[in-house]
Amino acid sequence: MTRIVIIGAGPAGMAAAIELAKAGLSPVVIDESPRPGGQAYRKPPAELDLDIAALLGREYQNYARLHADFAAVMPQIDYRPNTTAFDIGDNEVLAHSGGRLEGLRYDALLLATGAVDRVLPAKGWTLPGVYTLGAAQTLLKEQGALIGRRIVFFGSSPLLYLAALQCKKMGGEVAAVLDTNPFSGKIRALGKLMSSKRTLSQGLSYIARLKAAGVRIENGVKPVEIGGEGGVSRISFLDRRGALQHIDCDAAALGYGLRSETQLAELAGCELAYHDVFRQNFPKADADGRCGNGVYVAGDGALIGGAHAAELSGRLAAIAILADHGTAPRQDGSIPAIRRQLERLRRFQEGLASAFSLPFHGLVDLVDDVTMCRCENVTAGELRGAIRRNFGAKEVNRVKAYTRCGMGRCQGRYCGIAAAELTAIELGVTRAEVGQLRVQAPIKPLPVSAVFADRADVEHAH
């Protein structure tokens, strides 16, 4: 019997599990969170009594359907929440749960690990009250709370507008939405964005609703500093005319798109390739998510694509697993249709990545004392020093070795991309030439107690 392990119970993992269960299989699905849904379809705790339908708007139907379908197959699959995968061995996932180590052997491994916010540093970004866009959304859905009373949203992402709207719906005051992209950049990407007219009009409606509510929206901004003593009290930025402006606030949410979680793919032996539009590495896979050696990828952990694309790619990966392990492929013509829809959604995401570009050039203006690596307290000046010195670093892993940037608890999730961009700028080379931080296990904190406790080998259901 084929042993299938799925890592991640977001839309991609859930869709794959449902597809496999429909074919009579019993995959193991592990997820770090206590409830399924990942980020976009995060399920609030029942006791919170949160009106998730109001928060998700038109997305609620997909959210409800997927959760219902997943709940329906739960008796058949082995769903293991609160379980953190931290390494991949020989055809085995190493995870820990409740302080115990678990080994999960597999014939097929589907990595549906999703993504986190991509960030760029700014002066003052370590102050209490500064969070990512994803953090603002997560706090709403998990705790029914806002990151502050008067919030500024800044960065480069369609999520800026969605997160601001969600905060407003929950009674928060949105001091401003500061978009680093000039309005013209969004118009230029319109061609690719038209591949998903419904999502495009949804996105434009977010902006319209914020404007109608009197929220200040600025385009073409350059963040200068997040100021405050012991906590955020104001944001300073250059507006599109280059004038210095200040906005009082007690919290700031920032984000510059998404950063794929590819650590387990790398540990599993998948080759990663640099993608110029998304400016990050993704695992090399075929259209259905096959990486080779029994490893498959789906969702934002395969390629930034959003929740709908994650579901579709999860289904395709599951179908690929079935096909590769002895189940005859479907003849109902639905597979090409799913592939076409996925392709359309991915094209749309590329359009979004162009419309909401990463303003990496701005790193040139970072003063030396700005923190680059939050975990190890490494500054921009120290990074520059590591590159400019004798035998200076020529790629980002050497920068890490010299400065400790990326060696801390987040393992480069929140400094790695900025470090690579800064290195490329300093050396005057392309981003692709400086590489990306290599992965090390454990990819998430591993309690010492788990290392010394007896290990449990997870048996697969038959």
């Binding site: 705790p45 006791e47 209490p128 929140y414 904190p445």
Partner: protein
């Protein structure tokens, strides 16, 4: 539950992070330079909200459910203060 010896109240279902931030403006002081930190990603990826539970177990406060009787330290007991 107690945070660095001070008793605080939390609601059932809150994370340790939310419980602490309701009572204080920060989660911890960074071990390298003492600057205040209050979390960043709130989804268990950045570890900015790192605290120690019951004297020894380091954990992400945003992922840890607040529990009655918890003893939380915002610094490991045998690290020197910066």
């Amino acid at each position: 539950m107690s945070v660095d010896g001070v008793m605080i109240d939390a609601h059932h279902g809150q994370s340790v992070l939310t419980a602490i931030l309701q009572n204080a403006g920060k989660i911890r002081d960074l071990e390298f330079n003492g600057e205040p930190r209050a979390g960043f990603c709130l989804m268990g990826a950045c570890c900015d909200c790192w605290v120690w539970i019951d004297g020894c177990r380091g954990t992400r406060a945003c992922r840890e459910p607040a529990r009655d009787g918890m003893v939380i330290s915002t610094r490991p007991s045998d690290f020197p203060r910066p």
